[in-house]
């Protein structure tokens, strides 16, 4: 008798749970209308997103070679061929841009410098600087040299290096920023 009661009670509870279960079923939709359309090229990235600032805490992520530690300054000394890597947000309408300086005292030793600007190994331009001081370089990069998927390398080849008389360390230019601009 006891067992019959238990079985009846448990059966009733099970039916109640199953009924609840069925009530809870809610078919998910399986057809949908087209969603809101994403407008092509509506995004406007930061104009300096493709530049490496030498005082950026993450600048080291972009430096490939020949750029010294900053020693607390917003700029960094380079060596023979400072090279950075950078992604472009699109391969069209891109310019290489760099701000740098040629040190007065170094200039006295080296004389005029010839700088070669390279993108992914392609020579973009070769410029002779006959005076020391702040310089700016900017020139359009052919789209075929760039890819939006892979990082591009930018190198500035310095033809003559300043050699520090006290320890023989060699220096090229004083780099503030380098990268791509749209």
């Amino acid at each position: 008798m006891t067992w019959t009661v238990i079985i009846v009670v448990l059966t009733r509870i099970s039916f109640a749970i199953l009924s609840l279960l069925l009530c809870s079923c809610d078919r998910l939709p399986e057809t949908y209308p087209p969603p809101q359309q994403r407008p092509a090229q509506a995004l406007t990235p930061d104009p300096y997103a493709m530049m490496v600032e030498m005082n950026d805490p993450d600048a080291a992520q972009h430096i490939v070679k020949d750029i010294y530690e900053p020693f607390g300054s917003p700029w960094r000394w380079t060596s023979k061929q400072p090279t950075v890597k950078m992604l472009v947000d699109a391969s069209d309408n891109i310019k290489l841009s760099s701000d740098f300086a040629i040190w007065d005292d170094g200039f006295k030793q080296t004389g005029p410098l010839e700088l070669s600007f390279l993108v992914n190994g392609h020579l973009l331009d070769k410029v002779k600087y006959a005076t020391p001081g702040y310089k700016h370089f900017e020139k359009a990069v052919p789209p075929a040299w760039l890819s939006a998927d892979t990082e591009s390398t930018i190198s500035i080849d310095v033809d003559k290096l300043y050699v520090a008389p006290q320890d023989g360390v060699k220096f090229g230019i004083i780099l503030t920023r380098v990268g791509f601009l749209r």
Binding site: I17, E30, P34, Q36, R38, Q61, L87, D149
Partner: protein, 738 residues
């Protein structure tokens, strides 16, 4: 003072839970007039009471009534009622006295390991799964006073029978109280092993088997953190034990605790579902052999088991449309867990980092690095346990061990062997019971080789084990934060907690210590939505994910009511994806009409991703391509078309497609058997488009660990992604999408 109060709160949470469970269990056992040995009654009372308390907490959570004061009142009422009913007065006689030699062996070894384990359980919880999901979900339930609907965390869909008890303890003593509840199951398991052997008249076997299990490194660690493997082992062993008593006594009242524990096994862990067929077959077989009625006991046990199983199935069905979530997604397709996740998960769990299954014996007993933990070198002698087949009890033990250990085939992690360990331990001790001196030597060997300082001499570096304990941390003399600092999961949780606003969502690819933060965290692989976000975020970084393949179907203009791109190949280990599906007439793309009806098989829920004009979103099959899968556009009225373009990616190049159409006559025909393919290189960075999609889905924060996929890219090109780093701690960096 604060430290002392914290420890008191932890101990209260733990003891209150144990006392409530014990009281509930005792009340039921007394109500059923079941008689056991004195020790047995206490042990069964805890395990059965744990099942009942877990069910009560489930009901309270389902009703959004999981409030601390209610727990307190209810718990005190249960304890008070049990005391008034005289539940604290022991019933049943004691076991025959233990031989002096075994008594001392047990006291010394058990005492030494208990001191170690208790300290570990009392320490701030820092175990990976404990602080990420066992307590992660508990903390969520505690904050919301019930079950919030969680669709982005596979772990929240698992059955959580023991987590319900963790919640009861967590309300008062937080994380460590929960770990101590698991430790209580551990202690109960050891005494169940011991008692079972005493019941069959082999106390020496009991001491030896209890020590074999207790000292085992993986059991020792697992049983003293907020995991559930040792808990489920205690439940399974109690079930086995009760079945053996029922086999002797044939007391029908025993079927009640048997049914409860069979169901509770599933409620604690899916892989323990085997307890239900085991109990039913055992009862059916024994009843049939004894020429007794079969149907009635089977019905009682099944109904009671179902009462503990069904609530978890219903919860999953309601929340994520799959009663067995996160598994069985092929049978119950749903938008919350991808089939590909389930396939990958199963595949990984079957191998871990092993290169051959022959590595398993050495790995799980001695080295432990590839299978996450070790059970101890003594278990290399496990084959000797087969000698126990000569005893009736040995055959029962080995059968149960085989069955409860069977889920190991689906997950070769060492801790998945834990449910079989008490049975192996008892069988091994039973097999050697004729040689008492040998048993004593083996007990000594197990105790020595499993002591943490000795384990490190032979296990592989980095093996998951109890390396050291810190009484200062356990007693909170060393502040909890100090102790946990440097633990990656905890650090991630703290960064999130301190830098992310209350209602914001954080996407991450690594598992943080969710139990230590109240923010909503979306872990990449833990749900379909999270995987979609991850896919969006990875598309700019992986060329193979980008929509560079243009597949064109061109045909004579014809009027169609529906058009379908049908996949025709069977490709294991791949997926089919469509970034955009465009239809043309007279050389012009037809603008997408709100009256179109879009669908897909499988995964209809994501079909809009193939029609949103975004290069970083795509509809994916999220399972290997099979013939007959399709994407479909239904037009409100006949629509003339002359070409269809499918934009797809390199990673689905193995999929083959054709174009079918439904004409006005209601017949489906194949319009083109294959497309022409061309490549359209991507000339734009898709990074900002990806973060814009995350933003559109309400996700503004991204937590990235240094060595995870894309970490360097996020760091180097955060501006291109349109985000900025807002916090950093160790190797974890938090980004905000601007």
């Amino acid at each position: 003072m604060h430290a002392a109060l914290t420890v008191l709160a932890i101990l209260f949470g733990w003891l209150f839970t144990v006392a409530t469970a014990g009281a509930l269990g005792t009340l039921l056992l007394r109500k059923l007039s079941l008689s056991f040995y004195r020790w047995e009654e206490r042990l069964f009372a805890f395990v059965i009471g744990a099942a009942l308390l877990s069910a009560i907490v489930f009901v309270l959570c389902a009703a959004q009534l999981a409030w601390k004061p209610l727990f307190l009142v209810l718990g005190l009422a249960i304890i008070f009622y049990a005391l008034r009913s005289g539940a604290h007065h022991p019933r049943g006689g004691p076991f025959p006295p233990l031989p002096q030699r075994w008594r001392w062996v047990f006291l010394v070894v058990f005492g030494a390991f208990t001191a170690l384990y208790f300290i570990n359980a009392l320490e701030p919880e820092s175990s990976p799964d404990g602080m990420s999901y066992h307590l992660g979900v508990v903390a969520k339930y505690q904050r919301t006073h019930g079950f919030p609907r969680i669709t982005t965390d596979i772990y929240a869909s698992l059955s959580e029978g023991i987590e319900m008890l963790f919640l009861w303890a967590f309300e008062y003593g937080r994380h460590s109280a929960a770990a101590l509840v698991h430790f209580a199951f551990f202690i109960v398991l050891i005494f169940l092993i011991f008692s079972y052997a005493r019941r069959i008249g082999r106390p020496g076997v009991g001491v030896a088997a209890a020590i074999f299990t207790y000292a085992s490194p993986v059991v020792g660690l697992d049983g003293t953190i907020a995991y559930i493997d040792v808990g489920i082992t205690a439940v399974l062993f109690a079930l086995f034990y009760l079945l053996q008593i029922w086999d002797q006594d044939r007391n029908p009242q025993l079927l009640v605790p048997i049914g409860i524990l069979a169901g509770f096994s599933y409620a604690v862990k899916y892989t323990a579902f085997i307890a239900v067929p085991y109990a039913l077959c055992f009862i059916a077989w024994k009843s049939w052999r004894a020429r007794k009625p079969i149907v009635r006991p089977i019905l009682v046990v099944s109904m009671l088991a179902l009462a503990f199983i069904l609530p978890w199935m219903v919860k999953s069905w309601i929340e994520v449309a799959n009663p067995f979530s996160p598994f069985a997604n092929r049978i119950f397709p749903n938008p919350y867990v991808h089939i590909s996740f389930e396939d990958t998960y199963r595949k990984y769990m079957r191998v871990y980092a092993l290169t051959s299954y022959w590595q398993i014996p050495w790995q799980v007993t001695v080295r432990g690095d590839l299978t996450t933990g070790l059970i101890g070198p003594l278990f290399l002698l496990s084959p000797l346990a087969l000698l126990a087949l000569r005893f009736r009890e040995g055959r029962q033990l080995l059968l149960a061990g085989l069955l409860f250990g069977a889920p190991y085939l689906t997950n070769v992690g060492t801790r998945f062997l834990i449910p079989a360990i008490p049975f192996i331990s008892l069988s091994l001790a039973l097999a050697l019971s004729g040689l008492e001196w040998l048993l004593l030597v083996l007990v000594a060997a197990q105790a020595i080789t499993c002591w943490p300082n000795v384990v490190r001499l032979y296990c592989a570096p980095g093996t998951w084990r109890l390396a050291k304990v810190s009484p200062k941390a356990a007693l909170r003399i060393q502040p909890e934060e100090d102790y946990l600092n440097g633990n990656l999961g905890y650090d991630m949780a703290r960064i999130i907690q301190s830098s992310v606003p209350a209602n914001a969502k954080v996407l991450t690819f690594s598992q943080p210590g969710t139990a230590y933060t109240s923010r909503q965290i979306l872990v990449g692989y833990e749900g379909a939505f999270n995987e979609l976000l991850q896919d969006i975020l990875w598309t700019p970084m992986f060329r193979d994910f980008q929509p560079t393949r243009i597949l064109t179907f061109q045909f004579q203009p014809r009027e169609l009511r529906r058009v379908r791109v049908v996949q025709t190949a069977s490709v294991p280990e791949a997926q089919w994806s469509v970034a955009e599906l465009r239809v043309f007439a007279g050389g012009r793309e037809l603008p997408r009409d709100p009256e179109w009806r879009l669908t897909a098989r499988p995964n209809p829920w994501d079909v809009q991703l193939a029609f949103d004009n975004s290069p970083v979103t795509r509809w994916r099959s999220w399972q290997p391509p099979e013939p007959g899968m399709y994407l479909e556009i239904g037009f409100p009225r006949g629509q003339t078309l002359d070409s269809v373009i499918v934009e797809s990616s390199g990673d689905s190049s193995a999929a083959k497609i054709k174009l079918d159409g439904l004409a006005n006559d209601g017949k489906w025909t194949t319009i083109a058997a294959a497309p022409t393919e061309s490549i359209r290189p991507n000339r734009m960075s898709l990074r900002q488009a990806a973060t814009a999609e995350l933003k559109a889905r309400g996700v503004r924060y991204l937590l990235i660990i240094d060595d995870t996929i894309g970490a360097n890219d996020f760091r180097s090109y955060s501006k291109l992604w349109g985000m900025k780093s807002v916090a950093q701690h160790g190797v974890a960096r938090l980004y905000f999408i601007e």
